[in-house]
Amino acid sequence: MSRHDPDIRLPLTGDGPLEPPAEWQRLRERCPMATAELPSGDKATYLTRYDDVKSLLSDARFSRPTATDNAARIAPDGAGGPAANGDTSLAIPDRGEPHQRWRRQVGKYLTAKRMTALRPGMVSIAESLVEDMVEHGQPADLKAAVGFPFPVYVICDLLGVPAEDRDRFSYWSDAFLNVTRYTTDETRAAHTELNQYMATLIAAKHAEPGEDLLSMLIAESAEEGEGLSDDQLLHTGVALLVAGHETTANMIGKMVSMLLADRTRWERLLADPSLVRTAVDEALRFDANLGFGLRRYLGEDVDLDGRLLPSGTTVICSMPAANRDERVFADPDEMDLGRSPNPHLTFGAGPHSCLGQTLARSELQVVLDVLLRKLPTLHLAVPARELQRVEGLLVGGLRTVPVGW
């Protein structure tokens, strides 16, 4: 292999739908900073070891690439949709002190205490979705019946979107992100409609504030005089939806599939529901279908574990590969529902780590609690190896999760 040939081509896939690609282990062992060719044809450095991934993601100097960074693209121009190549919004500051200020302004609405207060509402949403699923009879697609609507309904409550608009919201969010299922025109139209809807919603919150996140951010802007502009509010709302819908929807499907693929796992949880908290984090660690990983564009030379990554390099940090690193996790290929501590990197690390991770954890815990309580006999309606992955590049998941009970 010449110096310019890539070591691997991304994406890598595992043998079974829930299995990690075999290459991860080899790469961690022999080639932890591999040259990878992306679907766009561009090249990037692919990191698979825990320490490397964590150290780069925690490095405050680097952030997600912007259009001006000249970073390697994941998908060819136009093929990845608006979210694929990092062009979601210029309204939200993405690095440095302004980013931190934005993060703290929004982050205070996503604290552990607030999520605990939101929990009873989440439980009733989950219960009614499970009841609807049962009413429609088995087998059912758990992803469509529960996984997909649940997080968007929760975000609607958080933003103060009226219940009757939830399903429109859900559609826009899907069309905006799911570039394989919708045409470019549909994606663009959804983007426009969602922005219009959000602008109207923000105007309504100005006129008649509620208890929701948008109203609180607006009230604060009025008080301090240097809060978020309406444009920033709009993009904040859209960002929460983009970041918090498809990801959690897919994770619900994958978590339940992993737990049911080996029924002893499900039975362990039935016997001891206090394991739900650690089980959720173990599902997050164990998930081999997290997608590509996070991109970072290096604007300066970086020394990583004694090796130089030159300025201008685009790095792909594979969190799911790092989450299986035997240097950090004992028996990394065992799904241990009581694993503690579980410092997985599924939500990233450092100043850009997922702002909504407490929301996501609470949602996953609520869904799992409700399923264990209401449907203890839940099982996969197809053999686990017949589950099918979605083809998207951004958010990994399973197409459907057929279940019976």
Binding site: R104, L110, T111, K113, N342, P343, G348, G350, S353, L355
Partner: protein
């Protein structure tokens, strides 16, 4: 055991509050960590160790044998 938190590093993920709510909280103004119990009771220490180990910003440090 003595606990220290670094507010400048904290990214407000809230993991510590979920794991050890008697020891950690988040400020209402910005979601940044507040240390409620710098010297946690014996029955809280394992939760505190877990919180420190999983903090995404490595903002919690522990001194297991303070002098």
């Amino acid at each position: 055991m003595k606990v220290q938190v670094d507010e400048a590093k904290c990214c407000g993920a809230g993991q510590c509050v979920l794991i050890a709510p008697e020891v950690f909280d988040q400020r209402d103004e910005d979601g940044i960590v507040v240390l409620l119990a710098p010297e946690p009771a014996a029955d809280q220490r394992s939760d505190v160790r877990e919180a420190a180990a999983v903090c995404p910003a490595a903002a919690i440090t522990l001194d297991e044998n303070p002098s």
